[in-house]
C-alpha cells in the first residue's frame, strides 16, 4: 500500500534520529506529499507567497503590531492630508487614517475568506465524495445539481443572497457574506473531488481493502480520502484568494460588509466616489487587496504544480 498516511507516518522525524545523508534517503520510498514538499522547497514563488501570506495573517490578527492609530477615529480637520509620520498613507475624505484602516481591514478579509472557503470546502467535500464514491443514480442526481449551481450567475446570486441574508441594516454583514460566498463557491471543488475519488476508488489497494472486508466508512476515511484530498486542498487555497476578492466585490456593491465594519471593499467603494479629487484613499486598499489575493493564488498555484507530476 502506497498509502499516503502510513508513509508520512514512517517518515515522521521523531523516532529516527539516525537518518543521515544522501544515499539512505534516496532508497526510501517517498510519498506524494514528501515529493511535493521537496519540489516546493526549491521554488522561489512558493516562498514569496508564504512570506506574503504570513505577513497578511500577522497583520489581520495583530494589527496593533503595525499601527496604534484607531481606524475609526476620524476628524474632518484631517481631510485629505498627505502622508506623514503619524499616518503613513495620509487621510481620506472623512479624515480617517488610511493606513490604520487598511491594516485593520485585513482581519475582515481574512475572516470572510477563510470561513467562506471552509463552508464551501465542507459542502464540496460531501457532494464530491458522495457522487464519486457511490456513483450510479446518486452521482447522476448530485452532478446535475452541481451543473445547475454552476449555471447560476455568481454575482447575481451573490447580490440576491447577501441582501436576503442581511436584511437588518444594522448588522455588519460578516455572517451573511461568509455564508453567501460559501454557498456559491463550492461547485468546482465538488467536481474536482468527485473525479479524484473516482480515480482513487479504482486503485488496487482499495479493491484489496474491500476484499478484506473493509466497511465503506473505513474505505472512505482510510483509503480514498487521504489519496484524493491533495488536489482538493490546492483548489481550496486558490478559492480562498478568490473569495477574498469576492467579498471586496460584494462590499463594493453595497451588499457585503457594511455599517461599522472596516473592509477593503468598502474603502474602495468610498474611495471611488472621491477618486477624481484624491485618488490615494482608493489606491492603497486596492493594492493590499490585490497583493493578498495574489499571495493566496500564487501559493495555490505553487502547491498544485508540486502535487501534479505532469506539471513538473
Amino acid at each position: 500500500m502506497s498509502d499516503l498516511n502510513t508513509v508520512t507516518a514512517a517518515e515522521a522525524p521523531g523516532g529516527q534520529p539516525n537518518v543521515p545523508h544522501g544515499p539512505v534517503k534516496k532508497d526510501k520510498p517517498r510519498s506524494l506529499a514528501a515529493d511535493a514538499w521537496s519540489e516546493l522547497r526549491r521554488r522561489k514563488i512558493f516562498w514569496i507567497a508564504i512570506v506574503l501570506v504570513a505577513f497578511i495573517l500577522v497583520m489581520s490578527f495583530w494589527p496593533s503590531l503595525f499601527t496604534s492609530a484607531d481606524p475609526r477615529a476620524c476628524s474632518l480637520s484631517n481631510q485629505y492630508k498627505g502622508p506623514s509620520g503619524s499616518a503613513l498613507f495620509g487621510y481620506d475624505f472623512q479624515g480617517c487614517d488610511v493606513y490604520a484602516k487598511v491594516v485593520n481591514g485585513a482581519f475582515n478579509s481574512i475572516r470572510v475568506g477563510v470561513f467562506s472557503t471552509l463552508v464551501a470546502g465542507i459542502i464540496g467535500l460531501i457532494f464530491g465524495m458522495a457522487s464519486g464514491y457511490f456513483g450510479g443514480w446518486v452521482d447522476a442526481v448530485l452532478s446535475r445539481f452541481i451543473d445547475i449551481m454552476l449555471g447560476v450567475p455568481f454575482l447575481l446570486a451573490g447580490i440576491v443572497l447577501s441582501r436576503r441574508l442581511s436584511s437588518d441594516p444594522a448588522s455588519d454583514g460578516v455572517f451573511a457574506v461568509t455564508l453567501t460566498l460559501g454557498l456559491l463557491s463550492w461547485t468546482s471543488g465538488a467536481r474536482v473531488m468527485r473525479s479524484a475519488v473516482i480515480s482513487a476508488k479504482q486503485q488496487d489497494y482499495v479493491a484489496a481493502a474491500r476484499m478484506l472486508g473493509a466497511k465503506p466508512s473505513r474505505l472512505i476515511l482510510q483509503h480514498i480520502l487521504p489519496n484524493s484530498i491533495a488536489s482538493y486542498i490546492v483548489l481550496l487555497t486558490l478559492l480562498l484568494g478568490i473569495n477574498i476578492a469576492s467579498e471586496a466585490t460584494l462590499s463594493f456593491l453595497g451588499v457585503g460588509l457594511k455599517g461599522d465594519a472596516i473592509s477593503w471593499g468598502i474603502m474602495i467603494a468610498e474611495g471611488t466616489q472621491f477618486a477624481r479629487t484624491q485618488p490615494w484613499p482608493l489606491v492603497w486598499p486596492a493594492i493590499f487587496l490585490g497583493v493578498t489575493v495574489l499571495a493566496f493564488i500564487m501559493l495555490g498555484d505553487a502547491v498544485r504544480d508540486a502535487f501534479d507530476p505532469k506539471l513538473r
Partner: protein, 544 residues
C-alpha cells in the same frame, strides 16, 4: 402579379419607420431626432396620489400633471392660477374659490367644484391614512372624519368615523365652492398651493370615496402634462403635453422623470447628457461640478432645512441633556465647509431663512459646537454608549452622516454608527412603526411659504412628518393660535413663541439650511429651481 407590389411597398415603409423610431428612441444626438422633451432626474416617489404625497419626488412629478389653485410669485405671495379668484370673508374663516371655466382634465372631463371636494374629502378621511391629511385639518368637520384606534397598534380595528365628508366644503355651483375653516386663518390661500389640494377627476373613483384600482400608476390630472403610459416603478415616469390644457403652456413637449437610486449615477448621466436636469448635485461631485458643467452648474436659494430627529419613543433620548450634548457635539461649520464645500449653511434656527418670521440663532447654545459642555452634559445624564443615526442611502447623505458620527464619537467618546436604509420610504415606515432605528436623519422642504409649515407638520402631536413622536400641548396650541390669528404679524408672534419651545426642548438637532445646487445639460436652457426644489416646468426650454 399585380397584388404583390403594394404589399412590398408597405413592408419597405414599415422598415423605414422602424429605423427612424429606433434612432429617436436611442437618444442619439442627431438634431433631426431630438424631440422637444427633457429628462429630469428624481428619486422613486413614495406615492402619486396628491393627498398622499408629502415628499419632494412625488410632488415634483405631480406638479407637472396638475395645475394648482394658487402659485407663488417672486415675493412668495400666492397668486390664483387654476382659480379665477379666492376670496375670504371678513374674519378669514370662510373662503370662496371660483374656478376658471373651460379647464378640463387630460381625459376630457371638465374640472368642477366636485372634483376638488371629493378629492379633499378622500384626503381627509382618516381610514384612508393619507400622508397629507394634515393639510385638511383646518377645514371644519375634519375631526368627524377621524377615529381613534382603541388599542393603538393592537388587533382591534378603529371604529368607523362619524362622517365621510367635510362639513366645511360646500358646493355653490359647478365652478364655485366654499371652504369653511375651524377658525380664522389668514394664510389659508397659501396653503392651497400645496400638492394635497389638487382635484381628482371622476375617473379616479371606483365608487364614492374609493380610488379606482391602478389609478395611482396612471394618474389623470388637470395640468399641462399628462401621463404617457404608466408609472414604471424604480425606472421612470413619462409625461407628455396635454393638448387640451388651457393654462400657461410650458415650452417643452414632454418630460421624462427618470428615477435614480443613486445620485452619483444621476450625476454621471448628467455629465454624459443622458439626463438634462439634476436638482441636487451629490456632494461627492461638488468639487468637480464647476469643471464638468461650467456655467451650467448653478446655485439658488431653497427652503430646505436638514436636521437629526431624536425619537421620543426611545427612552435613551428622554433626557434633555442627552439631546443637548449630541447637538453640541456636532461641529456644523466644519461639515458645511468640508463635506458640503460651502453649498449649505449651518442651521441656527428651526425655520428656514426664506420665510417671514425667521429669526437667526433661535437654537442658541444648543446648536453651537461646544465639545467640553457636550461631554459634561452627556456624562451627567449618563447618555447611551452606542448611538446610531439612520439615513436613507438613496439621498446622498452618507458622507455628512458619517462625518457627524465621527464628530460625536470624538466629542462624547461613545460609539456612533451611520446605518443606511436603502430607500427613504423604508426608513419612514420603520420610524412610523417605532422601531429602534436610533436617531433619524430628516429634512424639510416647505410646502407653502408660511413659518407655520416648519412647525405644524414637523412637531405638532398629529403632524404628518413628526416621525420622532414629539408632543407638547403648549406647542400645539401656540401653532394653532398663530393659524387663527387675524393678521400675519400676530400669527408670526405666536409661531415664534412656538419655535422658542422647540429651542428649549430640542426634539431635533437642526443641522443645515440648504441651497439648490443644480446642474443641467447642454440640451436645455432657462433652468430655474425654486424654493421648493422643483424645476420651473413653465420656463425650461430645449436649446435650438
Amino acid at each position: 402579379m399585380p397584388g404583390k407590389a403594394p404589399w412590398k411597398m408597405a413592408v419597405g415603409a414599415t422598415a423605414i419607420a422602424l429605423l427612424a423610431a429606433g434612432c429617436g428612441g436611442g437618444g442619439s444626438d442627431d438634431a433631426s431626432s431630438t424631440s422637444n422633451t427633457v429628462v429630469i432626474g428624481i428619486g422613486e416617489p413614495q406615492h402619486l396620489i396628491p393627498s398622499n404625497s408629502t415628499e419632494s419626488n412625488g410632488s415634483e412629478v405631480l406638479s407637472s400633471l396638475f395645475y394648482p389653485l394658487v402659485d407663488f410669485d417672486a415675493q412668495n405671495k400666492p397668486v390664483p392660477v387654476a382659480a379665477e379668484s379666492i376670496t375670504p370673508n371678513a374674519d378669514n374663516s370662510v373662503w370662496t374659490v371660483k374656478l376658471k371655466s373651460g379647464f378640463t382634465f387630460s381625459n376630457g372631463e371638465p374640472v368642477t367644484s366636485d372634483n376638488y371636494i371629493n378629492a379633499w374629502n378622500y384626503g381627509a378621511y382618516g381610514p384612508n391614512a393619507q400622508e397629507g391629511a394634515y393639510f385638511f385639518e383646518k377645514i371644519k368637520g375634519f375631526g368627524d372624519l377621524q377615529s381613534e384606534d382603541p388599542d393603538k397598534d393592537g388587533p382591534k380595528k378603529a371604529p368607523e368615523p362619524k362622517a365621510k365628508t367635510l362639513t366645511g366644503l360646500k358646493k355653490v355651483d359647478d365652478t364655485t365652492f366654499e371652504i369653511t375653516l375651524d377658525g380664522p386663518f389668514s394664510g389659508w390661500e397659501s396653503v392651497m398651493g400645496y400638492t394635497a389640494f389638487y382635484p381628482l377627476p371622476k375617473a379616479a373613483w371606483k365608487s364614492e370615496g374609493v380610488l379606482a384600482d391602478g389609478f395611482e400608476d396612471a394618474i389623470i390630472g388637470n395640468g399641462p402634462f399628462k401621463m404617457k403610459g404608466k408609472w414604471e416603478h424604480d425606472s421612470q415616469i413619462v409625461v407628455e403635453k396635454n393638448p387640451s390644457f388651457k393654462g400657461t403652456v410650458p415650452k417643452v413637449d414632454g418630460i421624462t422623470w427618470k428615477i435614480y437610486q443613486d445620485q452619483q449615477a444621476e450625476y454621471a448621466d448628467l455629465v454624459a447628457g443622458n439626463v438634462d436636469v439634476q436638482t441636487t448635485i451629490p456632494i461627492e461631485s461638488l468639487s468637480k461640478a464647476s469643471a464638468d458643467l461650467g456655467d451650467r452648474f448653478k446655485k439658488s436659494p431653497n427652503s430646505g432645512f436638514g436636521f437629526i430627529g431624536f425619537p421620543q419613543y426611545l427612552p435613551e433620548y428622554k433626557d434633555l441633556r442627552v439631546r443637548q450634548a449630541i447637538s453640541m457635539a456636532i461641529n456644523r461649520q466644519e461639515i458645511m465647509d468640508q463635506i458640503f464645500l460651502g453649498s449649505r449653511t449651518p442651521a441656527t434656527s428651526f425655520v428656514s431663512p426664506v420665510v417671514a418670521g425667521y429669526r437667526e440663532n433661535t437654537c442658541g447654545d444648543n446648536c453651537k459646537y461646544d465639545p467640553v459642555k457636550a461631554k459634561q452634559l452627556y456624562t451627567e445624564a449618563n447618555g447611551p454608549k452606542e448611538l446610531k443615526i439612520t439615513y436613507n442611502a438613496d439621498g446622498g447623505h452618507k458622507a455628512w452622516i458619517d462625518a457627524t458620527c465621527n464628530q460625536i464619537k470624538a466629542t462624547l467618546g461613545v460609539n456612533c454608527v451611520g446605518v443606511g436604509e436603502p430607500k427613504f420610504s423604508d426608513m419612514l415606515t420603520k420610524a412610523k412603526a417605532h422601531e429602534n432605528i436610533g436617531l433619524i436623519r430628516l429634512a424639510w422642504l416647505m410646502d407653502y411659504p408660511l413659518m407655520e409649515n416648519y412647525l405644524g407638520p414637523l412637531y405638532s402631536t398629529t403632524g404628518s412628518s413628526n416621525y420622532y413622536g414629539y408632543s407638547n400641548p403648549t406647542f400645539d396650541n401656540l401653532v394653532k393660535a398663530g393659524v387663527v390669528a387675524k393678521t400675519s404679524e400676530e400669527a408670526i408672534a405666536k409661531w415664534q413663541a412656538a419655535e422658542d419651545i422647540l429651542a428649549k426642548e430640542l426634539p431635533v438637532a437642526p443641522i443645515y439650511t440648504q441651497q439648490n445646487v443644480f446642474g443641467y445639460s447642454t440640451k436645455v436652457n432657462n433652468v430655474t429651481v425654486d424654493l421648493f426644489q422643483k424645476v420651473d416646468l413653465y420656463k425650461i426650454e430645449v436649446v435650438g
